[in-house]
């Protein structure tokens, strides 16, 4: 897939990925920024809309597919990954992109989130991280830190916040990045990298929820902070600081170990600024590549297109050999 094509081949513009449905997010919601970037990234990658399957769970963020003019599937709370994995495995010709909330993905969906890391299915997972359960009125999400109390909480949060990037790296995700909803350029470029990545990609996107999260607002993210008397922006870009999370030689176990530790150190580092960018990336065989040697027909067809009947609708599956195993006249 090519990112920068000569303008003569540009067929789809960002607006071609906009559906007719009007987003019903609150004014100022970070979700607007994310959807714009998804549409722009798709346009810049010239993804054919009918070849894209946009998935989501349930939550404010999970309304995303309805606003994007590709095939869209708004699933169940916490279950977007298994649905999306089913689609991708059965029809790998589709680009599968999954969007959803932090509650959806790291809370109720945590088991799928973790286990998806073991499969390296070739899809992109974008988590809108607003530290709250938006659609159910602002309860703490799993990323909200211990002791914090956004205005929607009757009591301070008694749970620690989870570090989703650390989990993803440990769980086996082969592309792990963070971006910010209102850093349009960075987010767009990160999404493009994630979509182009072959394997399971996670993009955790910091997302202001002006309605319920009064702690980490757009202003807060935009604020300059003081470090030893100097002013710095709240967020910074890893790449600009020379950080390179990509494993160059996926067969080099030493490089892998080194890059993984570097990434784990970085995502857990105690720095006043928030780093954005790709923490870790490696290209490894994806799930289908792993199973194809054992299921010869999958080398020839996708599951979705495997022929099963003839023109007269007679099943083409010949069970002779299977019957032979149980027939009493075969020996």
């Amino acid at each position: 897939m090519v990112t920068n094509m000569p303008s003569s081949t540009v067929q789809y513009k960002a607006k071609d990925y906009k559906s007719d449905v009007h987003p019903d997010w609150c004014p100022g919601c970070g979700d607007f920024g994310i959807v714009n970037c998804i549409q722009q990234a798709m346009a810049e990658l010239q993804l054919v809309p009918s070849q894209v399957l946009m998935y989501s769970g349930v939550g404010c963020s999970s309304k995303t597919p309805h606003y994007i003019k590709t095939y869209g599937v708004h699933t169940l709370h916490g279950r977007s990954l298994p649905f999306a994995i089913g689609s991708k495995l059965a029809n790998p010709d589709m680009h599968v992109v999954v969007a959803g909330g932090d509650g959806d993905g790291y809370g109720i969906g945590a088991g799928h989130f973790l286990n998806a890391g073991r499969r390296n299915v070739n899809l992109t997972y974008i988590v809108y991280n607003n530290e709250v359960y938006g659609l159910t009125k602002g309860q703490a999400s799993p990323t909200l830190k211990l002791g914090m109390q956004p205005k929607s909480l009757p009591l301070p949060n008694p749970n620690d916040g989870v570090n989703p990037l650390a989990i993803a790296i440990s769980a086996g995700y082969t592309f792990v990045a963070r971006s910010y909803a209102f850093d349009a350029k960075h987010l767009r470029e990160t999404l493009k990298l994630a979509i182009q990545h072959k394997g399971m990609a996670l993009v955790d996107v910091l997302q202001p929820c002006p309605t319920y999260n009064n702690l980490h607002t757009k202003d807060w993210y935009g604020e300059e902070i003081e470090i030893e008397g100097m002013k710095y922006p709240r967020t910074y870009h890893l790449a600009e600081k020379g950080y390179d999370g990509k494993v160059q030689d996926p067969r080099n176990e030493d490089e892998i170990a080194e890059k993984k530790m570097q990434a784990l150190a970085k995502v857990q580092a105690r720095e006043p600024q928030i780093p954005l960018g790709v923490f870790y990336q490696i290209e490894l065989p994806d799930f289908l590549e792993r199973v194809k040697p054992n299921i010869p027909l999958l080398q020839q067809y996708t599951s979705a297109k495997m022929p099963i009947e003839d023109a007269n609708h007679i099943p083409t599956t010949d069970l002779k050999d299977a019957y032979a195993e149980v027939r009493t006249d075969t020996y």
Partner: protein, 610 residues
């Protein structure tokens, strides 16, 4: 008096020590000789050491169940002797290992003959003769027990050899001669030590048609393969996982079998796959089935064809996880919050397992809705010799699908306006379905109520349209699905008693019918195969003309009886139930029905079997 080709054999021992292989050999040998066989398998929720047993019934005429009396019990261990010796009928035989079992401690009828099988000695002799290490031969104790048993009945040894050849194929074929040596010794031992002729005889049935040895999980797997199911997601659970493992073990058919992190994922993954057009299924048992509730509802509101198996086992909760029950009927019908159309099928024998699995994919595609199949553990794990499947009538029906040409034409019309309407209203409730990837077919799915494009709506009018459209599919299905796939009436049209039943209970009931007939009790049997949509009219018609109605099923509350009453208002006059975790036998059914006929007992609770 001699009884030929009506034989009930039992073998038992600690789990993991060869009880199953013995039964397999015994069953195959008899089947190869042209006999009908029905094998009942009982085991603990344990990998090694707990008591398990297999009961095999052999008959010249078809059999669909086991009977309580045992003609010959073969044991390897003392526990089996203690638990089962009392079941051997007078005149029957008890084989035991005298190194572990002391006869005087066993409760057994005085007219039962006992014989200590010299397992160790035979194996030693064969080891000496062949030069094989004794340890390698230990597993052939099974062959000794089977061969000795069959020898007693006068069965021709050549069928044992044929059976071994069917079992040990390919690289394992070399095991046949060694096993035959052991079998011959066992035959010889019986000939030398049994002087009085055993009254139960097994002889080959020349010209018997070829049959298949089938259990329910294999039959379902075969039905799925034939139907073109090419995606299966599952999470291991007893007894369902045998089906998935069968598919995994046959990768040549191209099924991508994905073992998931849990049953929620398995359900959602199957639905995600089904959305792309592949025929997809997922299989589980009670605990895992329950976790599929939300995914089922989602498939229902999004009109996704997907096939879900719930192999029922003993509940509630973990319950009796390796035992039999029909406790999930109402749960399977009403699973999922809110209302959506689901088709629920309950096969009653191994063949129905195959056909129901095959048909389920047609129904799912045609009515664009989930289909649930609810076999029970007795179907899943027992083995029957059955007729070859009749494939001649099988056709694939993918339902209303939008071809690329159809979509292209649609897209060329002014009304199209850049939008394909996946969920258009229609008289039969079914809309035309495009698949992701089709050029002009872009549409959406959501678990929320939606408009024809698939976008969320809370508009009450659209709601009425959509909800009614979906639910209407049940009426369409009820009209279109062949009647005999909905219910079957066995026996005379008119009878003094009408039995209403489902699932594996059908087997012992059909076997009991001729016996009761010879008692002068005339009965017919209504097997309900489709539980949702419920065949109200047909069942009502039959039950309205029925004189005395008897519900027979394996659960505590009489779930089918309750369902029939809910749907038709008709109450069963009598109920026969069992909830020990063990399937009903022909013997029990005969006794229960006699009791009802003679004493008008309202409710008979069966309890036989360990």
């Amino acid at each position: 008096m001699e009884i030929t080709n009506q034989f009930s054999w039992m073998i038992g021992g600690p789990q993991g020590t060869g009880v199953d292989s013995s039964a397999t050999l015994f069953i195959r040998a008899c089947a190869v000789a042209g006999l009908n066989v029905y094998g009942k398998r009982e085991y603990h929720s344990n990998i090694m050491g707990e008591h398990s047993y297999f009961q095999v019934r052999v008959s010249e005429t078809p059999v669909n169940s086991h009977v309580d009396p045992v003609h010959l019990l073969a044991t390897f261990d003392d526990e089996t002797a203690h638990i089962h010796a009392h079941e051997v009928v007078p005149g029957g035989y008890f084989f035991y290992d005298e190194t572990v079992t002391k006869l005087e401690k066993i409760e057994i009828h005085p007219e039962v003959k006992t014989l200590a099988l010299p397992y160790a000695q035979i194996l030693q002799e064969v080891a000496a003769e062949t030069g094989q290490p004794l340890a390698k031969l230990q597993i052939m104790k099974n062959t000794i027990a089977v061969a000795a048993s069959l020898a007693l009945t006068g069965f021709e040894i050549k069928y044992i050899e044929k059976a071994l050849m069917g079992i040990f194929t390919g690289s394992k074929a070399k095991l046949v001669p060694m096993n035959m040596k052991v079998a011959e010794r066992a035959y010889q031992f019986i000939q030398e030590n049994v002087t009085e002729r055993f009254p139960y005889r097994i002889t080959s049935v020349p010209g018997a048609p070829p049959r298949m040895l089938m259990n329910g999980t294999t039959a379902v797997a075969l039905g799925k393969l034939k139907a073109g199911c090419r995606f299966q997601s599952y999470y291991p659970i007893t007894p369902a996982s045998d089906e998935s493992v069968y598919l995994e073990g046959h990768p040549e058919y191209g099924v991508n079998v994905v073992q998931c992190e849990d049953e929620i994922a398995a359900m959602c993954m199957a639905v995600g796959a089904a959305l792309t057009g592949v025929r997809a299924g997922t299989s589980s048992s009670g605990p895992g089935f329950g976790l599929k509730a939300e995914g089922l509802g989602w498939a229902g509101i999004n009109e996704v064809p997907v096939v879900v198996l719930n192999y029922q086992r003993g509940g509630p909760s973990t319950g009796l996880p390796t035992r039999h029950e029909q406790g999930d009927l109402l749960y399977s019908i009403f699973i999922g919050h809110g209302e959506y159309p689901k088709i629920v099928l309950a096969p009653g024998d191994m063949s129905q397992c195959f056909y129901d699995a095959f048909n389920a994919f047609n129904y799912a595609d045609r009515y664009q809705t989930p289909v649930i199949i609810v076999p029970d553990k007795a179907l899943a794990n027992n083995t029957a010799s059955i007729e070859l499947f009749d494939e001649s009538g099988l056709r694939i029906d993918r339902g209303k699908r939008a071809s690329d040409e159809y979509l292209a034409e649609l897209a060329s019309k002014p009304e199209y306006q850049g939008q394909y309407h996946r969920f258009n209203n229609s008289e039969d409730g079914i809309s035309t379905r495009a698949l992701p990837g089709q050029e002009h077919g872009i549409h959406w799915y959501t678990g929320d109520e939606h408009d024809t494009l698939g976008h969320i709506t809370e508009d009450p009018e659209t709601r009425i349209m959509m909800h009614s459209k979906r639910m209407r599919k049940l009426q369409t299905a009820l009209k279109e699905i062949p009647q005999d796939q909905q219910y079957m009436l066995f026996g005379p049209e008119n009878a003094d008693y009408t039995i209403v039943t489902w699932g594996s209970c059908k087997g012992p009931i059909l076997d009991a019918l001729p016996i009761l007939q010879s008692d002068g009790i005339s009965m017919n049997v209504l097997q309900i195969r489709m539980m949702s949509p419920f065949p109200v009219d047909g069942v009502t018609r039959i039950l309205e003309r029925a004189k005395v109605k008897i519900g027979i099923e394996q659960n505590f509350t009489g779930q089918l009886a309750r369902l029939v009453r809910m749907e038709t208002g008709i109450k069963m006059d009598h109920l026969v139930t069992k909830f020990t975790g063990r399937p009903m036998s022909e013997t029990e059914i005969v006794a229960a029905l006699r009791e009802i006929a003679n004493k008008k007992t309202e409710k008979v609770v069966l309890t036989y079997g360990h």
